[in-house]
């Protein structure tokens, strides 16, 4: 949940950066005529599935401190070992297919993708090539301001296995750890439908949220459970032919996705403008130098020699299985966000924060359900409270909403106390630690005698006392030193132990001083 609070902050930061980027963009465009071009962007996203075991063997997928501790003959590629498909991989792939409006293929097969690499134990990766399990879907992503969306095609989703890990910087030699070998992945391939780095960012974010909502991937880009490659080409606006497609690898954070794509578009436009002919190639994003760099040409002289995997029979997905999976599907993030706006009247921004993870949205809804008075004003107060106090607490503790000790009904109670002006928002914040400690807000307020004073006669008596004591200030105020008003307010509040209703204090002071 720390991440979530950070995301909220980062988002604002990103928006700021984005604005700066735009200025930079406009500046450089004078030289490159970048505005005469459009970029064609497609993303290939690999999502590591949250299964208990690997795709083709029963080794655990859980983290191990010791390299090669979660291995067996199958994922080590020992001679004679054979793969057996984990049925959950199929379930998860179908889930993602349904969430992205794909057609699900009744019968699909695995293929071998043949290439040599030190951390690829069999010399081939079991993947799907022709006829992947899911195809021809789409997702809607947010573009521009507020609720505008754009539809991005999903070309295909297929199942495959991960490779192991090569470590190049510990020993003079390369070290190979095969704990990750055989961990299931789905690869989600978008259509070439994005035009800006921002759209690519939004697409990736949407995919990330969906896999997390579905519970099929933890969505962590930094740790590589979600990986992203981008295919980018540029062409003159109005052209119908695609330019040369260049693949960018190693986009291992949201910021890198946006930066790398922006960099690459600019690089390609400049190259084309200066008369260069771009070659189809694979480039790596270097987060240190903020550049994409060509990978050695040999690496992309690909000839993967795909052929149907003879060790695995095809995968059948029945109508009944699809129906069953469809029933277990949660409401998806964008739909939920839209519903939060329409049903609770929340601003788009609030709805975005609250639907960032499924559990936070659920918590918000539970709080709202506990409210005695069901109004949009109250929902907004709940939203404010969660976005500030609750998220701050979670961030400080580094925990998720699942571990948050306060029940939704206590949050609702707290919100209602200050909504009904029984306590001030300052007192609400002051007693929050007690509420976190488990006590109900009402009980804290009663125990500490913090109920707000709204009785005008009591407050008026104090107001008159203060004005009498400070007659000199009153005279100065009347002569024009209007900024003394705040001083009268705070003096009155102080006299009343901070419990007076500030609205009434202000009103009475204004009346008396007129």
């Amino acid at each position: 949940m720390k991440g979530l609070y950070a995301t909220a902050v980062l988002r604002k930061f990103a928006l700021l950066c984005h604005a700066k980027g735009r200025i930079f963009y406009e500046f450089t465009s004078k030289f490159t005529m970048i505005e005469n071009y459009e970029a064609i962007i497609g993303l290939e996203v690999h999502a590591q599935l949250l299964t208990a075991t690997k795709a083709f063997c029963r080794c655990s997928t859980s983290y191990s401190l010791s390299p090669n501790a979660h291995t067996c003959p199958v994922c080590l590629g020992l001679p004679g070992a054979l793969p057996v498909l984990n049925s959950k991989v199929v379930d998860y792939a179908v889930k993602m297919g349904l969430a992205t409006h794909c057609s699900i293929r009744e019968y699909s097969v695995f293929s071998r993708k043949n290439y040599f690499y030190a951390d690829l134990p069999k010399g081939y990766q079991i993947s799907q090539y022709e006829d992947p399990i899911c195809h021809h879907g789409y997702i809607d992503i947010e573009v521009g301001e507020e609720s505008a969306t754009k539809r991005i095609g999903i070309t295909r989703i297929h199942m495959e296995e991960d490779s192991g890990k090569s470590i190049h910087d510990v020993d003079i030699d390369t070290l190979v750890d095969l704990n990750r070998s055989g961990v299931p992945l789905i690869e989600i391939v978008s259509g070439p439908d994005m035009r800006t780095a921002r759209e690519a960012y939004q697409y990736l974010n949407q995919i990330r949220q969906i896999v997390m909502y579905l519970g099929i991937c933890d969505g962590n880009l930094e740790e590589g459970s979600l990986r992203c490659d981008a295919n980018i080409s540029v062409r003159k606006k109005g052209a119908t032919e695609f330019g040369t497609k260049i693949e960018i690898k190693n986009l291992n954070s949201f910021r890198n996705v946006e930066k790398a794509i922006e960099y690459e578009i600019k690089r390609q436009v400049e190259a084309v403008e200066s008369g260069q002919i771009l070659m189809q190639e694979t480039r790596m994003w270097d987060a240190g130098t903020h550049q994409t760099k060509s990978m050695r040409s040999k690496e992309f002289a690909h000839d993967y020699r795909y052929f149907p995997e003879p060790d695995l029979a095809g995968v059948s997905v029945s109508e009944a299985m699809i129906a069953q999976i469809r029933q277990s599907m949660p409401e998806l993030p964008l739909a939920r966000k839209q519903r939060f706006v329409s049903e609770y009247g929340l601003p788009w921004y609030d709805a975005g924060i609250l639907t960032e993870t499924q559990s936070l949205g659920t918590y918000f809804e539970q709080c709202c359900q506990s409210l005695g008075e069901q109004t949009k004003e109250r929902y907004k107060l709940v939203s404010n409270w969660i976005m500030t106090e609750v998220l701050r607490y979670l961030s400080e503790k580094g925990i998720g909403i699942e571990q948050f000790p306060v029940s939704p009904s206590h949050i609702a109670e707290l919100v209602e106390l200050f909504a009904a002006e029984l306590i001030s928002s300052k007192i609400a914040k002051d007693i929050f630690p007690d509420v976190i400690g488990g006590e109900s807000p009402k009980s804290v307020v009663e125990r500490k005698g913090l109920l707000q004073i709204s009785d005008e006669s009591i407050i008026l008596a104090v107001v008159e006392k203060i004005l009498a004591e400070q007659f000199e200030n009153v005279a100065k105020y009347r002569e024009g030193k209007k900024n003394l008003f705040g001083h009268f307010v705070s003096s009155t509040l102080k006299e009343l132990g901070g419990k007076a209703n500030p609205r009434i204090v202000t009103k009475l002071l204004q009346e008396r001083l007129q």
Binding site: P73, L76, G77, L78, P79, G80, A81, L82, P83, V84, L85, R112, N114, F116, A118, P121, K122, G123, Y124, V176, L178, D303, R305, Y306, F307, P310, D311, L312, A313
Partner: protein, 474 residues
Amino acid sequence: MRLFSDSCTAVNKGTTTFTTITQDILRDIDQRQSLNHFLSVGKDSAIVQAQQSDERYAEEKPLALDGMVVAVKDNLSTRNFPTTCASKMLGEYRPVYDATVVERLAAHGAIIIGKTNMDEFAMGSSGENSAFGKTLHPLNGDYVPGGSSSGSAVAVAAGHAHASLGSDTGGSVRQPAAFCGIVGYKPSYGRLSRYGLVAFASSLDQVGIFAPDIPTTATMMDALSGHDANDATSANLAPTQAMATLDEYANKSLTIAVLPEEIIKDCSPEVLEVYKQCLDILQDNGITLLQAQIPANDAWIPTYYVLATAEASSNLARFDGIRYGFRAEINNDDDDIMTLTRSQGFGMEVKRRIMLGTYVLSAGHYDAYYKKAQQARRLIYDGYEHIFSQADALFLPTTPTTAFKFGEKLNDPIAMYLSDYFTVSANLAGIPAISIPAGNAANGFPVGMQLQTSLFQDERLLSIAHRFQQLFQS
């Protein structure tokens, strides 16, 4: 040869023990080391297993394979023995797990005597492609025993095992069985687990059984077959009941399909002669012969070599010197460890097939070769279905010639590949096939005749084979 039933009878009578028999066999193997049929022999472990068999016999609680001395081809993964595939690549490799069939052998009380020599990675028809020297024919050391399961065939033919396991991708069990005068059985694809069988061509590979007779073969099959959850291509069928049904076809009226003259005529005169004698015997015994047409018979071998080499090129990619097996020495900075390892670790025939397989799968060739071969495979499968809708089984020679001399075909790959002519189609169709001894040719070498039947009709195949073997012996 050593009949399992004879050994059991003798042990039951008390005239000998399995331990004694095993000791005799170990001594015999030692005396005929020149055959080069074993790559490793498990003296101590075999004796221990024999003693356990004797104990269970004494307690009158014998397991299905108790006392059966079994040799295992060196491409089946075994914890207790190295598993080299007769390759320098795996010269030092010692598996950490047992193949399913090996596990089941042990679970049923078999005595595993050792691992047998073979053509490297099961690629060859002569036994000459072993990194550890060729295996000799037991009758004449100038002749090949057949391959690729050379050592397993020789072990049974020489009486050094009651039975043995081989692997049959295009005839690698049936062909050496024919050359050595024993029974060689390739079950239906999927009936014996491939888990732990070092893959040559996954869609064609099948573990096979050698024995002197059909009852021993059936006993083995009943014990080793049955679904294996570790092999996704394992047929979801109960173990065979071949012993119980061995006599089912003893007296039934049978219709047996035979190939047209023009397909058979290229066989050597010796084989043709025996084949014709066999047909006479069958007809004399009231068996109906039916001329059958198999489509695309001149595509059998090309189809087989496209599919087998393509799959092999991928299956053998794991031998890269990283995790196990041979690793070449790096001499200069430009050396690629994988290329060096593979170039030094594989023999020439293996490299030839990897190259061919890589080529047929490479960009622009897949449709012309691999896909076409899979389509031809469908034709062959359908053709067999048609035959078996009219006949109980197909009868044909196992090999076009009897055992040939060493070196005769070594430098002519196509001639070598053609010696698989009668065997590859059963692998392509996945159907069960068996070679049974049909007597000796005029040149003194054994001739094998083959029976094939429809997919998963393994009991029927063994029952008919049992009847034919008795007919040909009498």
